[in-house]
């Protein structure tokens, strides 16, 4: 009975999520001036960016792109062989970029993609030239500073042949922003033998709705690692990034760490289409509901022999009010595919809490320790420098989350 009621609630929530009235958000906002130094950002802006993994000091960064509302306020590469600029500027600079724009994401996919095409507000263009391997990540921040506005960005990342690029993108709002809509179109190209580690941290305000639309294309021997972290309250987030593995031995791995506060609705999933022989994929989700709803989707489609892919979703429910609905899908169209999935949703085991209490932790501390452990980012297999950065971003989020 409870199960049926929860299923009904899920469907209702899905339909509610699709009812975003784009026209209710403002399209005009004041133009922001370009900053020569990121330290010129306000303390509040810097603090909120830092919580999303974007470090205004640019220590241990190869470059930064900062967009505030509809204005590009900073874009700079600090590493030779990496390009950082807005897509608007990149389209002017590189004639060939037209071939990459709206190639993976269809303009007509939904009303949000159409909106982004009709009324674009820049977005980042990040590119690693062939063979370039940067030690430190590039960072990009899409910041909403004005209340009740819409921000439509279109991003392109290209990791050229044999390159190794790490990107941290942090999406955040100013502290006084209550409501907003962020639409993000992202097209990623991972060329032959290249590697892209893309880590996205969301640090939105409680009444912001978010609609990212992302597709990655991975060529022969290419690796695409996508990490997504959302620990802060957000009104309503729906995204379903996809990767197409079109070259032999291409690899894609999605890791998502989700925390749903009361009133938060997260409809998040990842899909991988394995089109080339020997390609591999892994989709791992850790979801915690503290009263909010999480729909954790995952879809693997095997279209070539010798592919191997695994889907894993583990959910932890901390409150009777919350919901976690795992929807794993596997689809094989040829012989010799190896697709698997594992999903488990439950609450924290009482014996674990009491065991930690016997070591002197209060019930709350024990639960927090277990939840933090459950959301452990070491599953992401990040490079050490990036791991440290992400851990500190998560700690900043956790201070507000727990």
């Amino acid at each position: 009975m409870v199960y049926n009621m929860r299923r009904q609630k899920t469907k209702k929530e899905i339909s509610e999520a699709q009812k975003i009235d784009i026209a209710s958000y403002g399209v005009r906002t004041k133009s922001r001036s370009y900053l020569e130094n990121l330290q010129n950002l306000s303390l509040d802006q810097r603090k909120n960016m830092l919580s999303a993994g974007v470090d205004p000091s640019q220590k241990a960064r190869s470059g930064s792109y900062i967009q505030m509302d509809h204005s590009v306020v900073y874009s700079k590469s600090l590493y030779s062989g990496l390009e950082v600029m807005s897509t608007t500027e990149a389209l002017k600079k590189h004639q060939w970029l037209d071939n990459y724009f709206w190639r993976l994401v269809s303009v007509d996919a939904d009303k949000f993609t159409r909106q982004a095409q009709i009324q674009p507000h820049h977005g980042y263009f990040l590119r690693a030239l062939p063979g370039v391997k940067a030690v430190y990540p590039l960072q990009a921040c899409l910041f909403i500073n004005d209340n009740n506005i819409i921000q439509n960005v279109h991003n392109v990342i290209i990791a050229e042949e044999g390159s190794d690029l790490q990107v941290i993108t942090g999406c955040a709002t100013a502290s006084d922003v209550k409501r907003g809509l962020h639409i993000g179109i992202s097209e990623f190209y991972i060329k032959k033998g290249a590697r892209l580690t893309f880590t996205m941290v969301h640090n939105w305000a409680e009444d912001v709705s978010v609609r990212p639309r992302t597709v990655a294309l991975v060529e022969e021997g290419g690796t695409f690692l996508s990490n997504y972290i959302c620990l802060k309250p957000v009104r309503n987030l729906q995204m379903y990034p996809k990767a197409e593995l079109v070259g032999r031995n291409a690899l894609a791995r999605y890791n998502s760490i989700l925390f749903a506060h009361p009133g938060t609705h997260l409809d998040v999933g990842s899909g991988v289409i394995l089109k080339a022989e020997g390609s591999r994929a892994e989709v791992i989700t850790r979801a915690v509901s503290a009263g909010g709803d999480i729909i954790a989707r995952g879809r693997l489609k095997g279209e070539a022999e010798g592919i191997k892919a695994h889907l894993e979703c583990l959910g932890l429910i901390l409150s009777d009010e919350g919901l976690i609905h795992a929807i794993p899908e596997l689809e094989g169209t040829v012989r010799g595919v190896d697709l698997s999935h594992e999903a488990a949703v439950g609450k924290i085991a009482k014996d674990e809490i009491e065991y930690l209490m016997a070591k002197g932790l209060s019930s709350g501390e024990a639960q927090a320790a277990i939840v933090r452990g459950f959301l452990d980012t070491s599953i992401m297999g990040l490079p050490a420098t990036l791991q440290k950065e992400i851990d500190s971003a998560i700690s900043a989020c956790e201070k507000k989350a727990f």
Binding site: E352, L356, M357, A358, K359, G360, S363, A369, G373, F374
Partner: protein
């Protein structure tokens, strides 16, 4: 230090301890013997306040304070510590984290962990894939750092190979010797640990009832010769199988 008065405990409505009365004095090392399933671990869990162990009668008094209503962590903070026999695996919580939380300064985590052969376990999830011996040593490392006044060791020798029993015994002695008032309740059903940790009092529990409080080594000797059933006769009941009464 720890007084248990007329304690009756139920698990899921089934009585597992009946009217147990016991006192562990300051500095005392009490051996707690009994066959499997006799209620030894239940007593320990009830003293610690685990929720599955419902105290339906009696008092648990620690340092003169009745602690029946206190939460598990409150009891731990008062100075009661447990070495668990089969603790759960806690994914994502590292042993180093637990050591850090109990750290009061002056504790060399790396050195102490190395001494117990646990250095490579510090950054592993608590008890995940630990062998029986590794679990015991990990529990002891945590007691070494938290240094409770009252330690309850649940079958410290079970699942530990002969070589490591000595290591376990040495660690128990170190924990207890930190303060001459530190007391211990050492649960065992084989008594092997007594080769390394010398108890100065002993008692036997059979079928959830306490029997035969006295000299631990004599009790062990009697049990080895005649089995635990004999202990019941010490209180005037006839054993099921006749066997010659030993000289005591």
């Amino acid at each position: 230090m720890l007084k248990i008065e007329n304690l009756t405990v139920k698990i899921s409505g089934k009585e597992v301890l009946t009217e147990v009365t016991l006192e562990v004095k300051k500095g005392q090392r009490m051996a707690f013997l009994g066959p499997n399933g006799s209620g030894k671990t239940s007593l320990l869990m009830a003293v610690m306040g685990f929720s599955d162990y419902e105290v339906t009668q009696g008092n648990i008094i620690f340092n003169g304070r009745r602690i029946n209503g206190l939460s598990i962590d409150q009891r731990a903070r008062l100075g009661i510590g447990v070495m668990f026999q089969r603790p759960p695996t806690v994914r994502g919580v590292k042993l180093r984290q637990m050591i850090g939380l109990a750290h009061k300064g002056g504790f060399d985590t790396e050195k102490e962990a190395a001494g117990l052969g646990l250095r490579e376990f510090l950054d592993r999830d608590m008890n995940a894939g630990f062998s029986g011996g590794e679990i015991k040593r990990s529990e002891l490392l945590q007691l070494l750092v938290s240094s409770p006044q009252m330690c309850m060791f649940d079958e410290p020798e079970s699942g530990v190979d002969l070589e490591n029993i000595a290591l376990v015994g040495k660690a128990i002695n170190r924990i207890l010797d930190k303060n001459r008032n530190n007391a211990a309740l050492i649960i065992t059903h084989t008594g092997y640990i007594f080769d390394y940790v010398k108890p100065d009092a002993g008692c036997v529990i059979v079928g959830g009832r306490l029997h035969c409080l006295g000299d631990p080594m004599k009790i062990l000797e009697t049990v080895k010769k005649h089995g635990y059933e004999w202990c019941i006769t010490c209180e005037g009941k006839k054993p099921k199988k006749k066997s010659p009464r030993p000289k005591r």
